[in-house]
């Protein structure tokens, strides 16, 4: 994996390690200056070994989560990369017919094959070029009655093996390819297994020229030339001589690809590949056209247009952005067109983006000229196939890490809260000790240092342990994933964790732990000596606020950061301290933290007043409305809610009300307002704010605010919440005193308990939301099968080269098929076109729009009149239901419908840079009636005449997800010059027909057409199981966070037992039995765990219900249901683990003799 959150992993690692090294250097420096403090700090570690182990366990979880997210990303990346590279072997570059030509004819002419081979052979970086025909043809093994359908047969030039890997038999022996005769065929392992054929067996390849007999020469490995290319469902490949394929396909001297191997062996060398590919691109592009393009594009207006395009399309894929930026810099240099320029303009995506940017800037003429030139630029298209595979693998791996990182962020946050909790409790247990230390002359900074030394030791141990745990956790999750990947999915998962990722996880884990430790140490050090010695609560410490001028000066110093420390270093004072602070500020993290702290200190007196927060909240809210940003708006509105709580507190504190009542009222009011705000349906405030756009950050924000508010509300009203529990459990077998003891302690320590509850709530919230949304989608699929498959039981594809003349007649003629089994049979064809919306629409002129690419699908009449595919939007003027709209389409050739991809959605998961045709003024989430609109369409690559169609409906996304124009088969003839071949057939079977049997019979009957029949229900189930597999993997990952929650509960409970030893002795003295003490601790931990789980489930349910309702408005067919099994599993697993963690300390507490407990100090 190369990039994470868009930042190169290498850079991230270097930065993290650098920050860590600075931290460590500073710690080492101070440690060396005062070793006594180091001893004071670290001597605590061996003193209570059990506690130390527990602390390391607690601290390592954040690192473990970071490590496992990286490991999952690396694994996905290395799996994709490994599978693809294995299959590619020595092949680095692939030469094919230019993209616009390939739609009609994918073959490279004999002359061009010769030219490419000559150019490649004479290139110093190329060590092999292999012309080949790779196409899908049926192969039959009559003896075993086995057939392979839709799998590639490859013709290779056996005289040109130089530079490519040898083909090896499954026994590892090199197969002498030159011995492969014109009737010899090699089957790779999968193909041989599919056909149940071995060396010496006869097989038949069915080609457009008829049946060709071959003898299996050997069964070979699935690598290199006998490996697959691209993302295909099977690894099977058969290899014959190129001449044999040329004759079978009637393509003498031609090839449909030429694979080129460059120097450097199997592993990709990006630079060499690029250089060789560039040379070939230049060699096979037209110099004059390239010069003319340079002339047009180097005009300042054109360069500006491309720059503007880059600036306004921030979400373009990084690969496109990089190419375009390079192009701009080439154009700006002026002079003669460079090699790189010539290479860049041959890339389809560059050509497309340049044409779009010219059109966008109103330079239509230039755009048109450029489009024509781009289309005529190259004779062949040169692709860096190996570089592309590596880039895609990294992209997908990065995507996985990002997704897991985002959803794992709650777990990481919870892990950090745990670290904080651990240190706060550690400090609490040493308050008296620290008070005495201060009383005998230790400075505050000494306490901080001693704490940091101890924390650094824990952080170091826990980061190493965390990385190891992360590896084990990801191994377990990946094992789980391997078990869940359906067998028929051709994807081998290889565990891969790069050392760099390990280093990053370790450094990141240790840096965040150290920062948290330093923060906790600072907070802890601010103790009041006498209060600490007497062991009184901190609330007895009076707080004083520095004057405004002091606070302003502090902020100024914080803002100047390293400069201020540099100044101090130069002018004098404590030089060592200034140097250290200067270095620390250079890490930026410390600088940022000190600015935040100084700002907080400056504002905190006003913050407590309430109204200034209201003002800030209002300003942020308004900024959010102006920028249409849901996140900014919500943060502002949340601040207003919080400030209302503060204001209430301020007003009530001037009354006679008791302090605890004031706190209860004000905190409850603030929390309730926050809950209302965040639980409002997404569009509830649209009339006030206009439409706001939000992304995944809204999920994280809602989780944080909702759980924060809910936990606060519960903590300040716990007596009310727990009243029913006391009421019902109290009378049961002496439970009343147990309940009192169990619940009083957690309710007294609101912060600690609230934090632990929040940990559980956040994790369960994430699990619940994800599970409920997946469940809704799965239910939608299960309950709406007809909306997906149109009511057709079988969908079959055939080779374009082997069309079926008349399928009805063929079925009637086939001895293996019974026409009675079929209720509907219909074919469809497809191609690519360009389209733009033309106006007026809804009384408004449509702004001038450019032509954008979209798919086109032609359906046979039998399909149009029988389909059950539905529309999310349609014009009631053409019909009152789906069937009537389809009928209207059939009746009028000027009408068309479109797929759901034409709608602009707010889908946060949709990839950026979607440049397909989109419709204006129709909202994806407002399903129902629309007014028909006009589109102008033309064949792909421009040039052809345009025609206008009236679009009367938009299908739902379950039927046609892409941006596609749908009409009769005649529509395709009308708009493109491409041969209109039906390549897909849909079959609806009669009641009683056996779908499995008919599907197999269809494949057999249409073997000569390479028919590959799929049962639509099976395909849907496969998608479902893939969804479930991902959901499970994800739940497993997020579930790691539950362990953080459970661990924190363990820490809290172990600490509680230690803190309360005397109280336990007293309770035993007044008659508490052992079992009562045990039950009381178990009840306490159950209260915390169940409160967290309950809140998480409740909030998760409401939020997922909202999300599902919103998606339902867009797509329809989704019904919210609570995934009870998941809910019960979450409750059971987290509760049982919580009880298990608490059981040991509880047992330990109950077993202590009362006298011993009373003696404990």
């Amino acid at each position: 994996m190369e990039k994470l959150f868009g930042i190169p992993v290498e850079t991230l690692t270097i930065v993290m390690v650098a920050i860590l090294l600075i931290f460590m250097a500073v710690i080492a420096f101070f440690a060396n200056r005062n070793r006594a403090l180091v001893k004071l700090g670290v001597r605590n570690i061996p003193r209570r070994r059990g506690q130390s182990v527990l602390i390391v366990l607690g601290l390592m979880l954040s690192t473990a989560i970071i490590a496992s997210a990286l490991a999952i990303g690396d694994t996905v990346s290395s799996s994709i990369r490994g599978s693809a590279l294995d299959a590619l072997g020595a092949t680095d570059i692939e030469v094919r017919a230019p993209a616009f030509v390939r739609v009609n004819n994918e073959y490279i002419s004999e002359e061009n094959v010769r030219k490419v081979l000559a150019a490649a052979d004479s290139h110093e970086l190329v060590d092999g070029a292999m012309p080949q025909i790779r196409t899908e043809l049926p192969i039959v093994n009559d003896a075993a009655e086995r057939t392979s359908i839709g799998l590639p047969v490859l013709g290779i030039d056996t005289q040109r093996m130089g530079g490519f890997d040898e083909i090896r038999t499954t026994r590892g022996e090199v197969f002498d390819v030159s011995s492969l005769g014109p009737a010899g065929i090699l089957l790779n392992e999968t193909m041989a297994a599919d056909l149940e054929a071995g060396a010496g067996d006869q097989v038949t390849v069915i080609a457009p020229t008829g049946r060709h007999e071959f003898t299996v020469a050997a069964v070979v490995e699935e690598k290199g030339l006998s490996g697959v290319r691209g993302n295909v469902p099977s690894n099977a490949v058969a290899v014959v001589q190129l001449a044999a394929m040329q004759s079978a396909m009637e393509r003498p001297g031609q090839a449909n690809r030429i694979e080129i191997s460059v120097e450097g062996g199997l592993r990709p060398d990006e630079g060499v590949s690029k250089d060789a590919a560039d040379d070939l691109r230049i060699a096979f592009s037209n110099d004059d056209i390239a010069d003319s393009l340079f002339e047009i594009l180097s005009e300042p207006a054109a360069v500006a247009a491309i720059e503007e395009y880059l600036a306004s399309n921030e979400d373009l894929p990084a690969l496109v952005t990089e190419d375009l930026e390079e192009l701009v810099s080439e154009l700006k240099e002026g002079g003669e067109p460079s090699r790189r320029f010539r290479s860049l303009i041959t890339k389809d995506v560059v050509a497309g983006s340049v044409a779009l940017s010219l059109e966008d800037s109103g330079q239509s003429q230039q755009a048109f000229a450029a489009t024509i030139m781009f289309a005529q630029l190259e004779t062949v298209s040169v692709g860096e196939i190996k570089n592309d595979v590596v880039e895609i693998a990294d992209l997908v791996g990065g995507f996985f890490t990002t997704i897991f990182g985002i959803f794992g962020s709650f777990s990481i946050m919870v892990g950090l809260l745990l670290i904080f909790l651990v240190f706060v409790m550690l400090a609490a247990s040493r308050t008296t000790e620290m008070g005495i230390a201060r009383a005998v002359g230790m400075k505050r900074q000494h306490l901080v240092q001693a704490f940091i030394y101890e924390g650094a030791a824990y952080a170091f141990a826990s980061s190493i342990a965390g990385v190891l745990l992360g590896i084990f956790a990801s191994l377990a999750l990946i094992e789980l994933l391997i078990g869940l990947v359906p067998e028929d999915i051709n994807f081998t998962i290889r565990f891969g964790l790069q050392p760099r990722s390990l280093l990053l996880a370790f450094a990141a884990g240790m840096v965040v732990t150290l920062i948290t430790v330093a923060f906790s140490a600072y907070r802890v050090s601010k103790l009041n000596i006498s209060v600490a010695i007497r062991g009184l609560p901190e609330e007895f410490v009076p707080t004083s606020t520095p004057s405004l001028s002091d606070r302003l000066i502090q902020l100024g110093i914080a803002l100047l950061g390293p400069l201020y420390n540099l100044y101090r270093l130069i002018v004098g004072g404590s030089r060592v301290r200034s140097l250290v602070m200067f270095l620390l500020h250079l890490t930026i993290v410390v600088w940022l933290i000190s600015i935040i702290v100084a700002t907080y200190r400056l504002l905190s007196p006003y913050v407590r007043l309430g109204w200034p927060v209201t003002v800030v909240g209002v300003l942020i809210t308004m900024a959010g409305v102006n920028a249409s940003s849901a996140a900014t708006f919500s943060i502002g509105a949340s601040l207003i809610c919080i400030s209302i709580g503060q204001t209430i507190s301020l007003i009530l504190s001037r009354t006679e009300l008791r302090e605890d009542i004031v706190a209860r009222i004000s905190f409850s009011a603030g929390s309730i307002l926050l809950l209302i705000l965040w639980l409002l349906p997404n569009n509830a405030l649209d009339s006030l704010t206009g439409e706001l756009s939000g992304n995944l950050e809204m999920f994280i924000l809602s989780g944080v605010f909702l759980t924060g508010a809910a936990v606060t509300l519960v903590m300040y009203n716990a007596d009310v919440v727990l009243w029913p529990v006391s009421r019902f459990l109290g009378p049961v077998g002496g439970m009343r005193p147990v309940l009192k003891a169990a619940l009083s302690y957690p309710l007294e320590s609101r912060f600690r308990t609230g934090l632990t509850i929040a940990m559980f709530a956040l994790i369960v919230f994430t699990l619940m939301v994800f599970a409920a949304i997946t469940e809704a989608f799965n239910n939608a699929i299960v309950n709406n099968v007809e909306r997906i498959n149109g009511g057709y039981d079988i969908r079959a594809s055939i080779s374009k080269e082997l069309p079926i003349e008349d399928i009805d007649a063929a079925i009637a003629d086939s001895p293996s098929l019974n026409p009675e089994d079929f209720q509907v049979v219909g074919g469809r064809s497809g191609s690519l076109i360009e389209a733009r919306q033309v106006g007026p629409y809804l009384g408004k002129e449509i702004e001038e729009r450019r032509f954008l690419r979209m798919g086109i699908v032609g359906l046979e009449d039998s399909l149009i009149s029988s389909t059950l595919w539905e529309f999310s939007h349609f014009d009631p003027a053409y019909g009152s239901n789906d069937a009537e709209i389809w009928a209207a389409l059939l009746a009028d050739p000027d009408l068309a419908v479109v797929g759901a991809g034409v709608l602009v959605t707010g889908d946060p998961f949709s990839a950026g840079g979607d440049t397909s045709f989109k419709v204006q003024d129709i909202e994806s989430n407002e399903t129902g009636d629309i007014t028909a609109f006009q589109v102008e369409i033309r064949g792909d690559q421009g040039g052809a005449e345009t025609i206008t169609k009236t679009v009367i409906g938009i299908t739902d996304s379950l039927a046609f997800q892409q941006s596609t124009l749908i009409g009769t088969t005649a529509l395709i003839d009308e708009v493109t010059s491409v041969s209109n071949v039906l390549t897909t057939y849909h079959f609806r079977l009669s009641p009683g027909a056996e779908v499995d049997a008919v599907s197999s019979a269809l494949e057999n009957a249409f073997l000569d057409h390479n028919m590959n029949a799929a049962i639509t229900l099976d395909e849907i189930n496969r998608d479902l199981s893939a969804n479930r597999a991902f959901n499970l993997l994800f739940q497993g990952f997020v579930g790691l966070g539950l362990f953080v929650g459970v661990a924190s509960l363990g820490v809290v409970m172990v600490r509680a037992v230690v803190e309360r030893t005397q109280a336990i002795g007293m309770l035993r003295a007044i008659g508490f039995r052992e079992s009562m003490i045990r039950t009381s601790f178990l009840l306490e931990s159950s209260f915390i765990a169940l409160a967290g789980i309950g809140l998480g489930l409740l909030l998760g349910t409401v939020i997922s219900w909202q999300v599902v309702s919103e998606i339902n408005r867009e797509f329809g067919g989704l019904a919210f249901s609570i995934p009870w099994l998941t809910v019960m599993t979450i409750v059971a697993v987290s509760w049982v683990f919580s009880l298990t963690t608490t059981f040991l300390p509880a047992r330990q507490a109950s077993k202590v003799y009362p006298a011993e407990a009373l003696r404990y100090e």
Binding site: L536, P537, G730, G734, R736, P737, K740, A741, S744, Y745, L747, E748, Q1062, A1063, G1065, M1066, L1067, R1068, A1069, I1070, G1071, F1072, R1073, E1074, S1075, M1076, Y1153, P1154, A1155, E1156, L1158
Partner: protein, 233 residues
């Protein structure tokens, strides 16, 4: 007057052991305490006073010898039965008060009643009465950290006496109090002893306190050095 013994100890031995050290806290102590007696156990630090109290009250186990409470040998009682006995028939007053910091004074006093199965309403009534008896009714809703040392000790006394136990064990009940508060607390204990005829075993190192009890036992090195009546009550 010959009193019926409610507490009887026979040659009890208790030794604390660590890896490097053995401390013989009790070396074969034999004693009996009659019903309604107020006994002060005195002696220098480390003489075994608190250990004796813990062993007699069943808060700790003896290594050898036997302790009998109201005719029932403690060694024969399983832990649950012993706990129940403590709940119903014993009250404890500690030097460090040992109130539950998270409960109010009233809730602290109420706790032993709830443990003995008293109904909540009745328990609250009795607890309030208990606090009233020690002059703390006005402080019922305050948590321990809001009370002075003397006030906390009064709450502890109320908690120890609220279910009118047969035996009250007090370990340095005035140890953390100034002389005025100490005198108040002792007045209170003596009054209650007189009024309710409960047995009091008070561990103290203060001669003034010891002098208020009817019988004084002096301990040294884990043995009873002197056992005499003072004629105080």
């Amino acid at each position: 007057m010959e009193q019926e013994p409610i507490i009887a100890a026979e040659k009890i031995v208790k030794t604390y052991r660590s890896r490097t050290l053995s401390v013989h806290a009790l070396r074969g102590v034999t004693l009996s305490v009659g019903r309604g007696e107020m006994v002060a156990v005195m002696g220098p630090s480390g003489s075994g006073k608190t250990t004796l109290l813990n062993c007699l009250s069943g808060l700790d186990v003896v290594d050898s010898g036997s302790v009998t409470i109201a005719g029932q040998p403690l060694a024969d009682l399983p832990d649950d039965a012993l706990s129940e006995y403590r709940a119903r028939s014993m009250g404890f007053i500690f030097q460090h008060y040992n109130l539950l910091p998270v409960l109010s004074a009233l809730e602290n006093v109420e706790m032993p009643l709830l443990v003995s199965g008293e109904k909540p309403g009745r328990a609250r009534e009795m607890a309030l009465q208990g606090l009233d008896d020690v002059g703390m009714a006005d402080w019922a809703d305050h948590k321990p950290n809001e009370l002075s040392g003397g006030q906390q000790q009064r709450v502890t006394i109320a908690r120890a006496l609220v279910n009118t136990p047969a035996i009250v064990w007090a370990d340095e009940p005035t140890g953390n109090l100034d002389s005025e508060n100490a005198a108040d607390v002792m007045d209170l204990l003596c009054d209650l002893n007189e009024k309710n005829q409960q047995t009091f075993v008070i561990v103290t190192h203060t001669r003034d306190v010891g002098g208020r009890a009817g019988r004084m036992i002096n301990m040294r090195d884990g043995q009873i050095e002197l056992d005499r009546t003072t004629g105080a009550s």
